[in-house]
């Protein structure tokens, strides 16, 4: 097994004139849960978007399973096994749970394959299985987030990108959600997650990257949060 599923080298990226990343270096190992935390505006979402080609990459490279995907269009990245759950519980509100999941499998051909996969995905989310024919808008916030995640899983991705999954969810729901993320990860899906709730995210992380002003300021395992530099990163104080 290769030692890196995803390598990001010297990444500089942004949105048009706005530059957000100033040289990101990251190596994500297969099978791990990697977490990106950091203060507002540090560039966490931009890193995810770069992996999925949703922003402007100026310099640097993104290598996935040994292949340079820096210039690859988004739909081809999906075909390589990368899936993203964007911020904000984006489900098709007027479709049922089942239809949402079918939408997630749009590149799979074969009704049986889709149903088998749906079954596998729903084994992690029994709540959703009970609500297969309910309209997505009638689900609670937590359930919608789980639906968005399930939809992304329909393609059986190797790398799952999550952009602030706990946003707007109550603490208890967040705990449940993170439990599911761990379950999915145990089955072999590598997870790269951006989170505001640093504490909860780090509790399930194998590797943590702390971003500050577009660069990786700290990295390590779960003990990273105890590093005294964290306070400076979040509350200022190194006077530069």
């Amino acid at each position: 097994m290769a030692s890196s599923l995803l390598t990001i080298r010297n990444l500089e990226a942004g949105y048009g004139r706005l530059k957000a990343l100033f040289g990101i270096e990251m190596v994500i190992k297969p099978g791990e849960i990697a977490v990106l935390i950091g203060p507002n505006g540090a560039g966490k979402s931009t890193v995810l978007k770069s992996v999925f080609n949703l922003c402007d990459i100026r310099k640097g490279s993104i290598i996935y399973k040994g292949k340079d995907i820096t210039k690859l269009p988004t739909h081809e990245r999906i075909q390589l096994g990368i899936s993203i759950v964007p911020q904000g519980r984006q489900v098709f509100s007027n479709l049922t749970v089942k239809e949402n999941l079918e939408m997630g499998a749009y590149m799979t051909k074969g009704k049986e394959l889709i149903e088998t996969r749906m079954d596998e995905v729903l084994s992690h989310f029994p709540d959703l299985r009970q609500k297969l024919n309910a309209n997505a808008f009638s689900l609670s916030g937590g359930q919608q987030q789980m639906l968005a995640m399930s939809r992304a899983l329909m393609q059986d991705p190797q790398l799952l990108l999550l952009d602030e999954p706990s946003l707007g969810l109550a603490p208890k729901t967040t705990q449940e959600l993170f439990q599911r993320i761990q379950d999915i990860n145990k089955e072999g899906t590598t997870v790269l997650m951006v989170e505001q709730n640093a504490k909860a995210a780090c509790a399930i992380a194998d590797q943590i990257f702390v971003l500050e002003e577009g660069k990786v300021a700290l990295k390590g395992g779960r003990s990273v949060l105890k590093n005294p530099k964290i306070k400076n990163i979040y509350l200022g104080g190194h006077g530069h």
Partner: protein
């Protein structure tokens, strides 16, 4: 001690069952720079919008210069002497820099140029605002907010999205305004900046005031870092 120029009491605002702001109470003293900080979703911009009349509170009151301004429309709030900028710089993009400024106040080209020089705006009076770089748009927006006759300046994340050079310029502008004795409230995420320039820091978390005090007091408070790191 200076007077409280702005006071908000027990502000409540909810959207579809979720409280964006809840029991929010704080005050801003005349002649000080107050920064409002807090994690994402803490309710900072909502608080700004409640103060400036863009949103109506479900409960609570807003007092400015000892007058109740709760529920006034934005243009009425502006006329009481509050000037503000927005999270994303709002310039009139099809109008020249000159015309942008003239909406705030009638003034000669000389005065307008002075206003732009004060913020280190790097283009001309005639340049159309939509053609400016984002940094210059931000500077133009601030110059325009300064030109409007006001006693309280409210800046929502002034340094967001600007390059480091413009960020430095904004910091010097604010330092200058502080020297002039202006009253300013700002929402900011750049902590070094906040801590170095503020007289008072108010920490919002989950829609309510967690704590407030001098920068040193706030930094020492363990609950503040906890708020940022989540539960």
């Amino acid at each position: 001690m200076n007077n409280m120029l702005l006071r908000v009491y027990n502000l409540d605002k909810h959207f579809g069952g979720v409280y964006a702001v809840h029991n929010c109470t704080f005050g801003v003293r005349e002649g000080t720079i107050t920064s409002i900080i807090g994690p994402n979703g803490a309710g900072k911009t909502t608080a700004f919008n409640l103060i400036t009349g863009i949103l109506k509170p479900d409960k609570g009151t807003v007092w400015f210069k000892k007058k109740n301004i709760t529920g006034l429309r934005p243009y009425e709030v502006a006329r009481t002497g509050i000037s503000r900028t927005f999270q994303l710089a709002k310039v009139f993009k099809y109008m020249s820099a000159r015309d942008n400024l003239l909406i705030a106040r009638q003034a000669s080209d000389k005065e307008l140029q002075k206003a732009l020089d004060q913020v280190n705006y790097a283009r001309e009076l005639d340049t159309i605002a939509g053609e400016l770089s984002y940094g210059n748009q931000r500077l133009l927006e601030i110059a325009r907010a300064l030109l409007l006759p006001h006693e309280l300046l409210m800046l929502d994340e002034p340094t967001a999205g600007v390059n480091p050079k413009v960020r430095q310029e904004l910091k010097s502008i604010l330092k200058n305004l502080k020297k002039q004795g202006k009253t300013i409230v700002l929402i900011e995420h750049d902590m070094d900046f906040v801590m170095s320039i503020s007289d008072e820091v108010i920490v919002l978390n989950e829609g309510t005031v967690l704590t407030s005090g001098t920068p040193a007091q706030v930094r020492k408070n363990k609950r503040v870092l906890e708020a940022y790191l989540g539960k």
